[in-house]
C-alpha cells in the first residue's frame, strides 16, 4: 500500500475511533503534544496506561472476590484511580464503565459491580487492540499523529 493510501486508512480509522466513542478529545490533546522530542508520545502514554492498569484490574478483582464483605469504599477508590488514568488519554468508553461501576459501588450493588466490571474489562481490551492497530498504521504511514 502506498503512503497516501495508508494515510487515508489512518485518517479513517482515527475518525471511526472517535465516532464510535472510543476516544474523546483528550486524545487530540495528547497528539498535539507530540513533537520532535517525543514523536511517539501518545503511543508511549497508552502503553504506560496499559501496563499500569493491569495492576488496577488485578486489585479490583481481588477486592471483589473478598466475600462476604466487599469493601465498596476501597473498590470505589480503585475505580476512581482507574477512571482518572483512563481519562488521561481519552479512553471514553472505558471511562464510562468506570463511572458506572462507581455508581454500583455506592449503591452497594454487588451484582451490578460484577457485571459492570466485566464490561469494563472488555472495553479496556477492545480499545487496546484498536489502538495497537492504530499505532501500527501510524508508523506505517510515516506520520506521527494526526494527518
Amino acid at each position: 500500500m502506498d503512503r497516501k493510501q495508508l494515510q487515508h486508512q489512518l485518517a479513517y480509522m482515527r475518525k471511526s475511533l472517535f465516532d464510535q466513542g472510543y476516544l474523546d478529545d483528550q486524545f487530540n490533546q495528547l497528539e498535539d503534544l507530540q513533537d520532535e522530542a517525543n514523536p511517539n508520545f501518545v503511543e508511549e502514554v497508552v502503553t504506560l496506561f496499559y501496563s499500569d492498569s493491569a495492576r488496577f484490574i488485578q486489585n479490583i478483582e481481588q477486592a471483589m472476590i473478598k466475600k462476604p464483605n466487599i469493601d465498596f469504599g476501597k473498590l470505589d477508590d480503585y475505580m476512581h484511580q482507574f477512571k482518572g488514568s483512563s481519562s488521561s488519554f481519552g479512553a471514553k468508553k472505558v471511562k464510562k464503565e468506570c463511572s458506572q461501576f462507581r455508581e454500583c459501588c455506592s449503591a452497594g450493588n454487588i451484582e451490578g459491580c460484577i457485571k459492570t466490571f466485566q464490561q469494563l474489562k472488555q472495553e479496556h481490551a477492545t480499545l487496546r487492540r484498536k489502538l495497537e492497530t492504530y499505532f501500527q498504521l501510524v508508523k506505517q504511514a510515516g506520520i506521527a499523529g494526526r494527518t
Partner: protein, 599 residues
C-alpha cells in the same frame, strides 16, 4: 528532569521557567502533565508520592514556585499535602482530580488550594498557572508594605527599640543561637503535625497586633539561639528562622488568631526585615563567600556541620554591620569547626537558571553565610545574609515575592546586589557560572587551602552555577578546566585567572574565590550577573536567603542591573566561617543531581 528542555538560558520573561512540582500517583498523568508543562516552558519535576514531594520541597526551599497535586494519592491525602505545603513553604498549590464534585472542590479551596483542576486536564489550563505565583507575590509585597507601615509607625513611637534589641541579642550567644536552630527544626516538625486548620483567614495586622507579634518573636528569639540563627539574624533582629509560628502564636495569646495567620505574617516580616537590612547595608560590601564542604553533593548534614560562621577576629570588627537595628552581630561566631567554614562550596552545576541572585551584602564583612547560592547560576556571593531564608522549616517566601520591590531597588541601587561585588568586572558574561566547579567539587576546595586564606577570604566557589539554565554539562566542562586550588590560594583577583581557561564561567569562579576583599570584589562579580538579568518577577532575590534561590531568574544577565563599579569594596571576607547553612540550600544547588533523583 528539571533540566530537560531547558538547556538554553532562558531569556524569556516570566512565566517561562516557572518551577513546577507535580505530584500524582498515576504515572500516565505524570507523564502527560510533565509534557504539557514543558510545552509551556516551565521547569517540571514530577513525584509519584506525596512524601517524596514534601521531602523535595523541604530540601529545596525556594526551589519551586508552584505545586500541582492530585487529590487522591495512596500515601497521603492530597489535602494534607496541600496544608503542609501551604504552611511550610507557602507555595501556591493547585489540586487536580477526576472528581469534580462541588464538595470536593470546596474542600480543596478550604484547605488553601489556589485552584482546582478537573481531569482530563488540557494544556491551556496549565498555561495560566503562573498567575497564582504572581498573585501571591503581589500580595506578599502588599503585606510587606503594610508591615513596613506598621513598623515605621512603631519605630517612631518606640524609637526603634526593637531593633536595638536585636543587637544585643546578636552580640551574645552563639551557643544559644545554635540551640535555637536545633529547636527550630524540631519545632518545625512539630508544627507540621500541628496544623490541621484548613482556613487561612485573612487577618488584619493592626499596629497592636503586630507589636504583640514582634514582641513574641523577640521573646522567642532570645530564648533560643542557634548558630544558624546567626545567619538568619543577620536579616532581622531576631533569628526569625528559628522562631516558629506556633510559638509566636502561643506567646501572642490572641484569640482567634490562627497559626496560619502568624506563619504568613512571619514570612512577610522576615522579608520586610531583610529588606530593611538591605537598605542599611547597602554600602557595605560583603563578600559572600560560599563555603561548603568539598564534596558537593554532600549530604545536607555535612553542610550543616560546616556551617559555622567563622568569624575571624577581624571580622568581628566588621561585625554587625549593617543591620540597622537588627542584625545579629556575628562575633566570631564559630561554634562549629572552623575548617569547615573554609570549605568551598562546590555545588554541582545546576542548570537551573534560577537561584539566585540574592545579593544582599548588607554588611561588608558580615559573616553571613547567606550566600549559599553559589551554586546557583550566577548567584553572586550574597552578602546579604538572608539567613532567614535558610530557614528551612519556616515557610519561605518564594522568589517572586518582593520582586517588584527589588526590581526597583536594583534599578536604583545596583549596589544592593553587588554588595561585596564591588567593581566586579562584569564581563559580559551571561553565564556566570560561578564556580565552575564541576561536580567533582571535592577537588576544589580543600580545607587546608582554605586555611591558607586565613584572611578570611571566603571562598566562594560556586560550582558552576550555570547561570540561568545553562546546561550542567556546560558547567562541568568548564569546571574541569578550572583548577580549584589556585582559586583558593589566591587571595586576590589572581584567581580570576584560574578560571580563565574556561569560559567566563570560570571566571566567575575565580571570582568567587576571593581571598581579599579587593579581589573579592572583582570576583564577586559573578554575583552580579544574576542580578542583572533580573527578569521581572524573577529577580528579586535580594531577599534573604531563600529568595535568591528562587530567583528563578531565567536569564540573569549580569550587565543590566549590576554595575560593578557600584560595588564598593567588598570585604568578601565573609570569611571564613561564613558558611551558611547550606544544608538547606545546598540541595538546591545540586539541583541537577538531585533532581534526577526526584524524578
Amino acid at each position: 528532569m528539571m533540566e530537560n528542555g531547558f538547556s538554553s538560558p532562558r531569556n524569556d520573561s516570566f512565566p517561562a521557567g516557572l518551577r513546577v512540582l507535580v505530584v500524582d500517583d498515576d504515572p500516565t498523568w505524570l507523564k502527560i502533565l510533565e509534557k504539557m508543562l514543558k510545552k509551556c516552558s516551565y521547569e517540571v519535576t514530577t513525584c509519584g508520592l506525596a512524601r517524596d514531594a514534601l521531602n523535595l520541597l523541604r530540601e529545596r526551599k525556594g526551589g519551586y514556585d508552584i505545586v500541582i497535586s492530585d487529590v487522591y494519592m495512596p500515601d497521603m491525602d492530597g489535602f494534607k499535602l496541600l496544608e503542609h505545603v501551604g504552611l511550610e513553604m507557602d507555595l501556591p498549590v493547585i489540586m487536580m482530580s477526576v472528581d469534580g464534585e462541588t464538595s470536593r472542590v470546596m474542600k480543596g479551596v478550604q484547605h488553601g488550594a489556589c485552584d482546582y483542576l478537573l481531569k482530563p486536564i488540557r494544556m491551556k489550563e496549565l498555561r495560566n498557572i503562573w498567575q497564582h505565583v504572581f498573585r501571591k507575590k503581589i500580595h506578599e509585597v502588599r503585606d510587606i508594605e503594610i508591615l513596613e507601615g506598621i513598623e515605621s509607625f512603631q519605630m517612631t513611637r518606640n524609637g526603634s527599640d526593637q531593633y536595638e534589641d536585636g543587637h544585643f541579642l546578636c552580640g551574645e550567644d552563639l551557643t544559644s543561637i545554635k540551640k535555637r536552630k536545633d529547636m527550630e527544626s524540631k519545632h518545625d516538625e512539630k508544627d507540621i503535625g500541628d496544623n490541621t486548620s484548613t482556613k487561612k483567614a485573612r487577618v488584619v495586622w493592626s499596629v497592636e497586633l503586630h507589636q504583640k507579634f514582634v514582641k513574641a518573636v523577640n521573646q522567642i528569639g532570645f530564648d533560643t539561639t542557634s548558630l544558624s540563627c546567626f545567619y538568619r539574624a543577620m536579616t532581622s533582629n531576631v533569628c526569625l528562622a528559628e522562631v516558629g509560628p506556633k510559638k509566636i502564636l502561643d506567646l501572642m495569646n490572641v484569640p482567634r488568631l490562627t497559626r496560619e495567620n502568624v506563619a504568613s505574617h512571619l514570612q512577610k516580616y522576615r522579608l520586610y526585615l531583610s529588606r530593611l537590612q538591605k537598605g542599611n547595608d547597602f554600602n557595605n560590601p560583603v563578600g559572600m563567600i560560599k563555603q561548603s564542604d568539598s564534596p558537593l553533593s554532600d549530604s545536607v548534614g555535612s553542610f550543616g556541620s560546616h556551617n559555622s560562621i567563622n568569624l575571624q577576629p577581624t571580622d568581628v570588627s566588621n561585625g554587625c554591620y549593617g543591620f540597622s537595628g537588627s542584625s545579629l552581630v556575628l562575633h566570631n561566631v564559630d561554634p562549629r569547626s572552623h575548617d569547615g567554614d573554609r570549605k568551598i562550596l562546590v555545588t554541582t552545576p545546576v542548570a537551573e537558571p534560577k537561584r539566585g541572585l540574592t545579593v544582599d551584602a548588607p554588611n561588608p564583612r558580615k559573616p553571613r553565610i547567606s550566600q549559599m547560592e553559589f551554586g546557583r547560576p550566577l548567584a553572586p556571593p550574597r552578602s546579604e545574609v538572608n539567613f532567614s531564608t535558610f530557614d528551612s522549616s519556616l515557610p519561605t517566601k518564594y522568589p517572586w515575592c518582593g520582586i517588584p520591590e527589588i526590581r526597583l531597588k536594583q534599578e536604583h541601587n545596583p549596589l544592593h546586589f553587588n554588595d561585596g561585588f564591588s567593581h566586579l568586572p562584569m564581563p559580559g558574561q551571561k553565564q556566570l557560572t560561578r564556580a565552575d566547579y564541576p561536580q567533582p567539587a571535592p577537588a576544589i576546595i580543600s580545607p587546608p587551602s582554605l586555611t591558607e586564606r586565613e584572611t578570611g577570604c571566603p571562598v566562594k566557589i560556586k560550582p558552576s552555577r550555570n547561570d540561568y539554565g545553562s546546561n550542567a554539562s556546560h558547567v562541568s566542562s568548564t569546571a574541569s578546566a578550572v583548577d580549584p586550588i589556585p582559586l583558593q590560594t589566591k587571595t586576590n583577583s589572581t584567581n580570576h585567572q584560574v578560571s580563565s581557561t574556561s569560559s567566563m564561567e570560570n571566571q566567575g569562579l575565580n571570582m568567587n574565590c576571593l581571598t581579599d576583599v579587593e579581589s573579592s570584589r572583582k570576583n564577586i562579580n559573578l554575583g552580579m550577573p544574576p542580578l542583572a538579568t533580573l527578569d521581572e518577577g524573577l529577580q528579586v532575590c535580594f531577599v534573604p536567603g531563600d529568595y535568591y534561590m528562587n530567583l528563578g531568574l531565567q536569564n540573569i544577565e549580569v550587565p543590566e542591573y549590576f554595575d560593578p563599579s557600584l560595588l564598593t569594596d567588598v570585604p568578601i571576607h565573609l570569611n571564613d566561617g561564613l558558611r551558611f547553612d547550606y544544608e538547606f540550600y545546598d540541595p538546591t544547588e545540586y539541583s541537577l543531581i538531585d533532581q534526577s533523583l526526584f524524578i
